[in-house]
């Protein structure tokens, strides 16, 4: 359909000022219903008049009140930042480990179950970190890597999420299994933290998957191999007593220092 005419700038200005003769104004309004170009021309002319400022104020006020109705909650933001691992399969795996330890405690006796739980527990947060950050774990990684907050800040936020879930669950499970000879239920906390921080420090060099494989396998090999029936004794050597725990404390401090020294490496993706 061809149009006979379009609104001119002069006509739009006269319409906005209210000086256009009535019949012309009617036909102009009729035309605006079907012509987007002229409508935007006329609305620009109206915005240029004294009414424009009032309209802008009204618009801003309406938008501001509309926005206030739908705030993004702090809790929701924390949950997303906690990352894919906490929302996904890793949390299920964590519950399976805790549940299996409790079941084992029922059938094979508490000391053995607690020993196994303590042997596996330090690896759980390491796995959580590997599943939380990096190009293989996070569909948003390419985008996150281009933002100021997507480097170490995001990695640490996600690690904190993983620790906040795994530390209480595994320690409480350990407490539910009576000790009788096995190390204390909280004895794995420092080794777990040390392995997690070591993974974070190593990751910019090797990638998260390799880093977590190295630290997790290192721990498991030290505790489980070469003779799996002596786990109890080896674990006790690794975890029991002040010297062992302060050695782990030193490992935590060293890993943290290493991570702090290498923090800019998180700026670059692999």
């Amino acid at each position: 359909m061809s149009r006979q005419w379009h609104t001119s700038e002069a006509q739009a200005a006269r319409y906005a000022a209210g000086s256009l003769p009535e019949p012309d104004a009617w036909s102009l309004e009729r035309h605006l219903e079907s012509c987007a170009d002229c409508a935007s021309r006329v609305s620009a002319a109206v915005r240029a008049t004294a009414a424009g400022a009032v309209l802008a104020d009204v618009r801003a006020a309406v938008l501001a009140s509309a926005v206030r109705e739908v705030p993004v909650s702090r809790f929701a933001r924390l949950l997303w930042a906690a990352g894919p691992a906490v929302r996904g399969a890793w949390s299920a795996a964590l519950l399976v480990v805790a549940g299996a330890a409790l079941l084992l405690g029922q059938f094979r006796g508490a000391p053995e179950a607690r020993t196994l739980l303590l042997a596996l527990a330090p690896v759980v947060p390491v796995a959580g970190v590997a599943l939380s950050y990096g190009p293989h774990a996070d569909p948003l990684h390419e985008l996150a890597a281009s933002t100021p907050g997507g480097g170490l800040r995001l990695a640490l936020t996600r690690t904190a999420g993983v620790l906040a879930v795994s530390l209480p669950v595994l320690t409480l499970t350990g407490l539910l299994l009576p000790a009788s000879g096995a190390p204390a239920a909280a004895a794995w906390l420092l080794p777990g933290l040390a392995l997690t921080l070591a993974t974070l420090a190593l990751a910019p060099l090797t990638g998260f998957r390799t880093a977590s494989a190295v630290t997790a396998c290192g721990w498991l090999c030290a505790v489980l191999a070469p003779s799996p029936d002596e786990i109890g004794a080896r674990l006790a050597r690794c975890l029991d007593g002040a010297p062992a725990q302060s050695a782990w404390g030193a490992a935590v401090a060293l890993s943290a220092l290493l991570l702090a020294a290498r923090r800019t490496a998180y700026d670059r993706t692999h």
Binding site: V70, E142, G149
Partner: protein, 258 residues
């Protein structure tokens, strides 16, 4: 100049993606054209501070992107839509864009308004509370554009933003591009020559990691009008003509060095 690139080389293992590229870009909409594998994505990734140059100097928004401290200042003023745009399907549109705003360190009190504005700009305000997994491909692309503009970036990098948009959405998107280009430097890589003709103020044509042509869309169209290369539209003929001229020059250069 918000982008100043000199002698930029990018290598992926043994292949050379970009070969000593010199480029300066100021405010406006810059179209990045070229065949598949020409190096468009490699260039955009370097400009997004994600890809690492093997050689050369990259200055963005007046800062050196090689220094960690300056890089973080650049990143706060960047908008980036990657070619393969990943997202969390369980998020709502609003949550997703707010999450990116958080990553970009937009002050928390400004986030809700910034998200609202970004969604309105891409015409998705009415779908703000829909889950990402329920959206069509074109809508996801538009969410991608919304997250890129949520911090009002000074440098906006869009890799194939019109893929998956229907013709009407593409027209609206070009309108948005023109609006953004008045204040920011916008770099758009695309396969669609007509997007460039309609929305860009300048065209850069890449071929095999080198710059084959730079000019305005009008100049590329004129080149097409005077040449007899294949194409249905003058600017398409201009595109093929510029590409062929560049390749012919490459052959003569090679002969001279032999």
């Amino acid at each position: 100049m918000s982008v100043r690139v000199t002698g930029l080389c990018v290598r992926h293992r043994r292949t050379v993606a970009l070969d000593s590229v010199d480029l300066e870009l100021g405010a406006g909409v810059h179209g990045l054209l070229g065949p598949n594998g020409a190096g468009k994505t490699s260039l955009i990734r370097v400009l997004a501070t994600v890809g690492r140059p093997s050689a050369g100097r990259v200055e963005l928004l007046g800062r050196n992107s090689d220094s960690p401290r300056e890089r973080s200042g650049i990143r706060g003023r960047l908008g980036y839509l990657p070619q393969e745009f990943g997202f969390y399907p369980a998020f709502t549109v609003r949550e997703f864009v707010a999450y990116v705003a958080w990553l970009k360190e937009v002050p928390a009190d400004r986030v809700p308004a910034a998200v609202e504005r970004a969604l309105r700009r891409v015409g998705l305000a009415d779908r703000a509370d829909a889950k990402m997994r329920t959206l069509s491909g074109g809508m996801i692309r538009r969410v991608g554009i919304a997250q890129a503009v949520v911090n009002d970036p000074s440098l906006l990098l869009l890799d194939e933003p019109t893929a998956g948009l229907d013709p009407e959405q593409r027209v609206e998107f070009r309108e948005l591009l023109r609006e953004l280009g008045t204040s920011a430097t916008v770099v758009v890589s695309t396969h669609l020559v007509e997007d460039v003709a309609a929305a860009c103020t300048e065209v850069t044509l890449l071929d095999e990691g080198r710059i084959a042509y730079r000019g305005t869309p009008a100049a590329l169209t004129r080149l097409g009008e005077t040449s007899d290369g294949p194409g249905d539209h003058p600017i398409e003929r201009g595109y093929t003509a510029a590409l062929r001229a560049h390749r012919a020059r490459g052959v003569t250069d090679a002969r001279e060095t032999v």
